[in-house]
Amino acid sequence: MLTAPTRFFTEDHEIFREQVRNFVTKEVHPHIDQWEEEALFPKSLYQRMGELGFLGIRHPVEYGGSAGDIWMTLVFCEELCRCRALGLPTSVLVHTDMSSTHIARNGTAEQKEKYLRPMITGEAVCAIGVTEPSGGSDVASIRTTAVKDGDSYVINGAKIFITNSVHADVFCVAAKTDKDAQARGISMFIVERDTPGFSLAKKLDKMGCHSSDTGELVFEDVRVPRHNLLGEEGKGFYYIMQNFQDERLIAASMAVSAAQQALEDTLRYTRERQTFGKRVFDHQVISHRLADMATELEAARQLTYYAADVLASGRDCSTEVSMAKLYGCNVANKVAYECVQMHGGYGYMKEFAVERFYRDIRQTTIAGGSAEIMKEIIVKRGLDRDL
């Protein structure tokens, strides 16, 4: 570990970090190659993580969570991303911090009892369905509809690039309850996997993040009871935007943490490998670039901590979080390029972790809000205002 502890992390955070690190070392890392190969990890891993309290970090105590803070979540994210693959961490963090959060924030007591409790123990897996074949970041233009019919809603449409689409038992789905309206016409629904008309059309084959199950969902006259509406009708867009801040902060942290592991692996490699009579590390053309990578990565990490600090304060953090995701994911991609380069031919071989990192990290400037969208938010929320 290169990084020094910061003031944000207390003794409890560090004790928790130790537990997650041991878990990743003993129960994830030894199997990750196989799970990447099989393009899925066993669902039982959720229950194991549930036992250890990993799935309810910030969820309410009354439903089995620990009501921890954002720093506890970041500790979990940082250590999980050290498993040298981003697929599995993506699946787990989508479950804990990008989908079940909709139920934790906006669900009724009955919904939390029925859905959130088993999500915290790991008996149920959660996914979020917003992105559609026609568009992702342009949430207001989604085409999936939910039409009220008596005591239920009937959902029709399709969702794509949905993480956890194989394992998930419960989906939080965005649909238009007023198809003539834009943002104000969107509502969120809880859809159980075995509801008639719901199907996984296809498990998608991706460039990287293979251990994460990504798929395309189809809704054909899916009838859900009215009490499966999440929060209020027409507020879905607002809920999604609210959730985005957590999601993007964690995405930034994932990219930075995975890059940290890759940098450390590359430091180890360059300090061992000899070329032209000395360690690769001792060639100044290499070591200066390593210094740049370490510096930029530290800057990116500190920016995520700053954004987390703003988020924790309760203030509007959309500018800071967007900056952290934009910068962190860009730096991580740059680090990935350099790590492969410094490994030479071995970096191109699948038996070296940096090869996987190079493929896995690519999606981070696209998923959960692309780099271009991050810049739009920074411009609109942060720059175009009175100084």
Binding site: M1, E11, D12, E14, I15, F16, E18, Q19, N22, F23, E51, L52, G53, F54, G56, I57, S66, A67, G68, M72
Partner: protein
């Protein structure tokens, strides 16, 4: 049943240890510390005994300065009920540690003391035996299995000895030191970490215990192990035999 478990703060076994250039000790910068792994096993056994009985108390004790609270807090997060920190900033040898622990045992009156068989920093493997001698209690060292009698008055302990296993029994109170294969310690769960914050760590000063802490031994110097040379690959069995005979001189 009250079980006392000793906890020592030691460098993480994953840490690279560097000896100070003057040989007076090890470099402590950038070292991560953990609970002595054998003590962690002892704690796990204590927690299992308590869970099996459905009642009882697991009390941790450690000796050192305030940084040791991190290891005690971890032990509490794993499930211990409370902890005692014996404040002391001087280096102690095994006998001094045993004398301090004897005072704590007299005060707490546990039926069982569970300890690691040794600490992975100095590998002394003495404190448990010395404590048993000071208290006049029976001891079972290097335990690989612990079975409590139904009436909770005695234990049967399987020990790993050269060439096999030995099972011994004694009436409580007594002392057991754990070997590596006794159990696989649990992780502290997050709810456990949150609950540990509310558990008591009682601080007592070693100087107030009236224990003789005067050193019986001093460490003269430390040296790092000699660097292992890189291995070499041979083409044939004959070549291997030749090198083992002529170079390594082992056959």
């Amino acid at each position: 049943m009250k079980v006392l478990v000793t906890v020592k703060r030691v460098p993480d076994p994953e840490t690279t240890i560097r000896v100070k250039s003057d040989g007076s000790g090890i470099e402590t910068d950038n070292i991560k510390y953990v609970i002595n792994p054998f003590d962690e096993i002892a704690l796990e056994e204590a927690l299992r005994i308590k869970e099996k009985l459905g009642a009882g108390e697991v009390v941790l004790v450690s000796i050192g300065d305030s940084v040791v609270t991190e290891q005690l807090r971890t032990g509490l997060a794993m499930g211990a009920d409370r902890a005692i920190l014996v404040g002391c900033d001087q280096d102690l040898d095994s006998l001094a540690v045993a004398r301090i622990l004897a005072k704590i045992v007299e005060d707490e009156g546990p039926q069982l003391v569970l300890m690691g068989k040794q600490a992975i920093d100095d590998d002394a493997n003495q404190a448990g035996q010395m404590l048993a001698a000071l208290l006049g209690w029976p001891q079972a060292t290097f335990a690989s299995e612990v079975v409590l009698s139904d009436d909770q008055q005695a234990v049967k302990v399987t020990r790993e000895v050269d060439g096999g296993l030995e099972t011994i029994g004694f009436a409580l109170p007594g002392i057991i030191t754990s070997d590596l294969r006794l159990n696989e310690p649990r992780y502290a769960s997050l709810p456990g970490i949150m609950k540990a914050r509310k558990k008591e760590i009682k601080e007592v000063a070693a100087a107030d215990l009236d224990a003789d802490m005067s050193p019986r031994l001093t460490i003269n110097s430390l040296e790092p192990p000699t660097q292992k040379e890189a291995g070499k690959k041979v083409e044939t069995v004959e070549e291997l035999i030749g090198l083992l005979h002529d170079e390594a001189k082992v056959i």
